[in-house]
Amino acid sequence: MEKSAELLRASNISKSFPGVTALDNVEFSLRRGEIHALMGENGAGKSTLIKVLTGVEHPDTGTLELENKHIMVHSPQHSQELGISTVFQEVNMCTNLSVAENIMLGREPRRLGMIDWNAMEQKAKQAMKRLDIEIDVSRPLGNYSIAIQQMVSIARSLEIASAKILILDEPTSSLDVNETRLLFDVMRKLKNEGIGIVFITHFINQVFQVADRITVLRNGQLVGAYEAKSLPRLQLVAKMLGRNISDLEAVSKTKKKHSTTEKKESLLEAKGLGLKGSLEPMDLRLMESEVVGIAGLLGSGRTEIANLLFGIDDPDTGSVTMQGRKVERFSPLDSIKNGIALCPEDRKAEGIVGDLTIRENIILALQARYGWWKHLSSQKQNEIAEKFIKLLDIVTPSPEQLAKNLSGGNQQKLILARWLATNPHVLILDEPTRGIDVGAKAEIQKLVLDLALQGKSCLFISSELDEVARTCNRIMVMRDHKKAAELPGDAKEQTIMQTMEGSL
């Protein structure tokens, strides 16, 4: 078997859903032993292409060839039998079962009709060893970090019917730096074994770290397939956006402009705010027209600050004053009334109400503030929805579409719209740009700066340091559930990183 032999070829794939053409004559090919990145903005058609490859959706036209043989993929199960395995964005496994059970689920080795637990653990151990990971496979999966859970998920996929192709859909979106490195090692190892890997991510850095080739999609159409080595980073971004990347520079300019505005008043002040086990007492002050960044690793206490300030959790020490008035009760509703808004970290679980329409999602928090009886008229609802769809450029045929039909970036904008509709003084954004494309990222950053110009104050939580550095006036660095340092907005990425890791 020569190394560059073609493993999978998809030709002329088209797929339409009511109202949208998700894929339009797309070509895709994967070679043996390569890591192939699939890039594109939200709604470019990446997910649909994956769904076609894995049999979740059936293409309207086009053909699939696996090792030069024509195939029809009927169902996800069928695709696994053919050797195409997928690890999805959200790890969907049973956290209360052991690692071994998760890996061998449905294929447990049996002896005399009973499950042979020893053999099962042996096999599971081997499967993990193949990825160079040695853990106690008899412990519940939930005891391990998300990164390990993902590895288990990969091990499971490989265990099923000797996978030839592994599809990783945004595997790094909830991993930290070290965990990502671990995953990349595993990916390179599998690649050397001759497995073809399809890698979907929004992190451009990562693509250049591991990918051999890059296929770019835009609006359901193929832009092209390129060798990673010969494609400059800026050009990749330009290809994904289909335009010049001047937006990001515009963001930096806005920040310079507004950091010169004078005379600020304190909006929100927290003194000794803390909750046992999640955040050690800390002080925080947000001024008018200010964007304060919070940098920190996953689990450093950055989300905990947001949850305490917004009243998701009740603090057990300290006090919060909002515009000079002491906050007495902590609940989301009280926070909304006090003019605080929170775009939560997990937009699927905590943000979007999928089966409600876009209009209803936008007015949800505003209506909650008005209560049960003061019902917004449908005319008013439509006005508000139209206004924010336009303002945030949410791509949808109509405000009456269900929110779940929107792409990731548009869902994020939808949640922003919900909170902007309540006209908050303080906007807390927890990872507002996670998992969304470069263009939408720039739009959201610009929006944050615009809000600051209008006198609002933003708390900007992000794990992307360049983004924090670009947008924020001050940066608070969190480490081990406490405030490690407060840095000026022009701090270097290197400095922030070292503070986060604790070497400074």
Binding site: L333, I336, A349, I352, D355, L356, L364, A368, W372
Partner: protein, 352 residues
């Protein structure tokens, strides 16, 4: 513009399936039991099977209304049958001149009179049911007990409570004004139909003219996101269960009035299951979310049209449950994903 064909719109409408089921049964009746459609006028009142469907189906339609809101929040109320019995018992005891005490002469007991004013009887009956609903809502929203378990408590205990109220007796009611709710007529139509219409209107205004409906759906679809958006999930659930209890109380009023008695063991027996079936037929998912009040009421009508059809055909009463099982099976199959995919394919082929 996003143009959807008429066919797709009909298919997408949640009233389509329950209406289709209703029409199907009626068409069947047209062939095999034409007497079903006969309506005659007697003393200025309308009589006939169709009227019976509306009259007999009224309690179920009421319970289905309340059940719709509860199911839309992602819960279920198994206690509605018991709540019917409790409120029926409440009404009967208050009408009784000795308030359930047996040691009085038959002459006094069977008198067409009551010591309690009728408005008080009504208020107490409705309050008893609403209180039961409130209790369920409290268990679900504040004590965080799973709905199926929380309402199971009252489902079992409720019939005991009803018997406690009536001293373990089946209590016969002799007070004629009370009979009006289950047997009276206004403009030729049974009173119960007007009661259903009134409660339906109340529910509709409550959910569609305030934001409660949207909050109920939001909580049913994603409780966590609703909490993050400032919606009080607890109060939404409390309201839904309380309203469900209220609806069961109205149903209990009509039922006890219709049969002139309160029986702790048999009033509203199996109503919880029929109500759930009606709601499911109305297209509301058991996991919560989007709901339609009208579709649930039509669902209740389907169940009663079916039951009366079976009676009209001469099937013995004890075989009714078996016949109903067939209906349930058909409904569940029709609403399954497989069936939806099949009809979807059928429609697409026709469109192409």
């Amino acid at each position: 513009m996003n143009k959807t064909s008429l066919l797709d719109r009909i298919r997408g409408n949640r009233l389509t399936l329950p209406l289709a089921a209703l029409v199907l049964i009626l068409v069947f009746d047209a062939f095999y039991a034409p007497s079903f459609f006969k309506i005659r006028i007697q003393d200025g009142h309308l009589y006939g099977n169709l009227i019976d469907v509306l009259n007999n189906g009224a309690p179920l339609a009421l319970v289905a209304l309340g059940m719709t809101l509860v199911i839309a929040t992602g819960g279920v109320d198994l206690s509605v049958g018991a709540v019917i019995a409790i409120s029926a018992a409440m009404g009967a005891v208050l009408i009784n001149p000795a308030l359930g005490n047996e040691l009085i002469s038959n002459a006094i007991l069977t008198r067409d009179a009551t010591n309690t004013p009728l408005p008080i009887i009504l208020l107490a009956t409705l309050a008893a049911g609403s209180l039961c609903g409130f209790w369920n809502g409290f268990l679900v929203s504040r004590a965080r007990i799973q709905p199926i378990v929380a309402t199971l408590i009252l489902m079992v205990a409720g019939r005991g409570i009803a018997q406690l109220i009536t001293n373990g007796q089946i209590m016969t009611i002799y007070y004629t004004p009370y009979f009006w709710f289950g047997n009276g007529y206004i403009l030729g139509l049974p009173v119960s139909i007007y009661i259903v219409a009134a409660v339906f209107l109340l529910a509709w205004v409550l959910v569609r003219k305030t934001s409660i409906g949207m909050f109920i759906e939001s909580v049913g679809i994603n409780a966590k996101a609703s909490f993050y958006s400032g919606i009080s999930e607890k109060n939404v659930k409390l309201l839904a269960y309380t309203f469900c209890g209220f609806c069961a109380a109205v149903a209990g009023l009509i039922l006890s009035s219709y049969v002139h008695s309160a029986d702790g063991n048999n009033n509203g027996l199996n109503y919880e299951l029929d109500a759930i079936l009606a709601v499911v037929m109305g297209g509301t998912l058991m996991t919560g979310g989007r709901f339609s009040l009208l579709a649930s009421v039509i669902g209740a009508m389907v169940i009663w049209t079916f039951a009366l059809t079976v009676y009209t055909l001469g099937v013995p009463a004890n075989a009714l449950l078996a016949a109903k099982a067939v209906l349930v099976m058909i409904v569940i199959l029709l609403y399954s994903d497989v069936a939806k995919r099949l009809t979807g394919r059928l429609f697409r082929r026709k469109g192409a």
